[in-house]
């Protein structure tokens, strides 16, 4: 049986390493960090681990409804396509930093893309 994307990327250990780098990038990114101003950082890091596991094609319980409800308050504050793109861009940069191949990064981006409409409440 061929390896899943999640296994190819390194499983849970890879997710932990990626969250640490990714969240730092997001907080330093002036295009999107305003959406993270009032959050509890530890809870947010836990949520990002769940998100990253999903993006890596790992075991997850994410549903479209969760994504919609979880981001509705941000959509009211102006969350739009440009912010979604910025997050995906930071995710790609994180994986590049971790030495992941462009081919696998494209796979991760492809996993994230279908959540766009739910995240943005479209």
């Amino acid at each position: 049986m061929s390896e899943t994307l999640y296994e190819k990327l390194g499983g849970e250990a890879a997710v932990d390493a990626a969250v640490d780098i990714f969240y730092r990038k997001v907080l330093a990114d002036d295009r999107i960090n305003k959406f993270f101003d009032d959050v509890d950082m530890e809870k947010q890091a836990a949520k990002q681990k769940a998100f990253m596991t999903m993006a890596f094609g790992g075991p997850n319980n994410y549903t479209g409804t969760d994504m919609r409800e979880g981001h509705a308050h941000l959509v009211k504050r102006g969350l739009n396509d440009s912010h979604f793109d910025a997050v995906v861009e930071n995710l790609g940069a994180t994986l590049t930093e971790l030495g992941v191949s462009d081919e696998l990064i494209a796979e991760v981006v492809a996993v994230c893309e279908p959540t766009r409409n739910d995240v943005l409440g479209k």
Binding site: Y23, M41, A46, K47
Partner: protein, 325 residues
């Protein structure tokens, strides 16, 4: 079949069933989310069993030390007592043995408790006035055979509890105490890890507890303490900390003043901003942040951006009850 006990009720846990599933199957009202060890919504603790490693993945060292675990990741093999996080514990009595001014607004309160109490310096504890008014304060001292607890209490304008301590409490009076809680304390195991301690005002109480605990347990890595206030009257123990820094080679102390009047020997500026200026790279550091909530929040973010891992940043924000703000 292992038995689970929670709030004086027992539940059977099937083999290969998680604690969370067993509780949910018995209609126990318990918080949960992802059910795969990520969101930490189902965090719970066991007073009598060390949970399996996989149920503590991603938790802070100080949570692990208190047997915290994720119910969704724990398949128990033996009977396990459970306790919800933040559950109201019982009270024990203590007697006031010393009241001393640390600065014009802050009292050092020392009580002697009766019975048994397990605590880590830096944790906080609920103190109760006779009429039931509760406030939590951090523990500044190490455990000893004397059974004493030391708190630093700043008088707040219209602060019901703090005014009572300052104006009405006397030696010999009784104060009720609850079980200590909180994750902001020192854990041995990595004696060479550099430590950064940042506090404002009575944030020095938990930090002093953490500092003395680390030194007592033989911490060899550098320890930097930044204590801040607006003016000199807001600080305390400046001479004591300077003396300690002179004696302990790995301990550095910087009193910081953000107001206009900064005497020689003090750093001008806010404690956390000056700390980050002096130590811009925090990769591999353990960081403790105690005091003003805005400082704690800002410093947590800045320390993380400076490279500290989120799991290595311990925070204790002193939120003031709205009636007292």
């Amino acid at each position: 079949m292992p038995k689970l006990t929670l709030n004086n009720k027992s539940y059977h846990c099937e083999s290969d069933e998680t604690v969370l599933d067993a509780l949910l199957a018995n209609n126990v009202d318990i918080a949960y989310g992802c059910k795969q060890g990520g969101c930490q919504s189902c965090l719970i603790r066991s007073p009598n069993q060390t949970p399996p490693d996989e149920a503590q993945n991603g938790l802070k060292q100080t949570q692990k030390a208190q047997n915290y675990f994720l119910a969704c990741m724990c398949k128990p093999v033996e009977d396990m007592a459970l306790e919800e996080i933040g559950a109201e514990g019982s009270f024990i009595d203590s007697t006031v043995v010393s009241l001393k001014a640390l600065n014009p607004d802050t009292l050092e309160l020392i009580v002697e408790y009766k019975g048994e109490l397990t605590f880590r310096p830096g944790q906080f504890i609920n103190l109760k006035r006779e009429d039931g008014l509760l406030r939590s304060y951090s523990i500044a001292n190490l455990p000893s055979t004397e059974k004493r607890l030391e708190f630093h209490i700043r008088k707040l304008p219209n602060g019901g509890f703090s005014e009572w301590v300052h104006d009405h409490l006397s030696i010999g009076d009784t104060v009720s105490l609850q079980e200590p809680t909180g994750n902001c304390f020192y854990i041995s195991g990595e004696p060479e890890q550099p430590l950064l301690l940042i506090g404002t005002g009575t944030g020095l109480a938990p930090l002093a507890g953490i500092l003395h605990d680390a030194l007592e347990q033989g911490h060899t890595g550098p320890i930097h303490l930044f204590h801040g206030s607006r003016n000199n009257e807001g600080l305390y123990w400046v001479d004591e900390m300077e003396a300690l820094a002179g004696k302990k080679e790995n301990f550095n102390y910087s009193p910081c003043l953000s107001g206009p009047d900064v005497p020689q020997g003090y750093t001008a500026g806010r404690a956390h901003l000056e700390a980050l200026k002096a130590l811009p790279k925090l990769n591999g550091w353990r960081v403790f942040l105690c005091g003003h909530p805005e400082m704690v929040k800002d410093a947590q973010k800045k320390a993380y951006l400076a490279g500290a891992s989120l799991k290595d940043i311990y925070t204790d924000a002193f939120t003031v009850s709205t009636a007292e703000s």
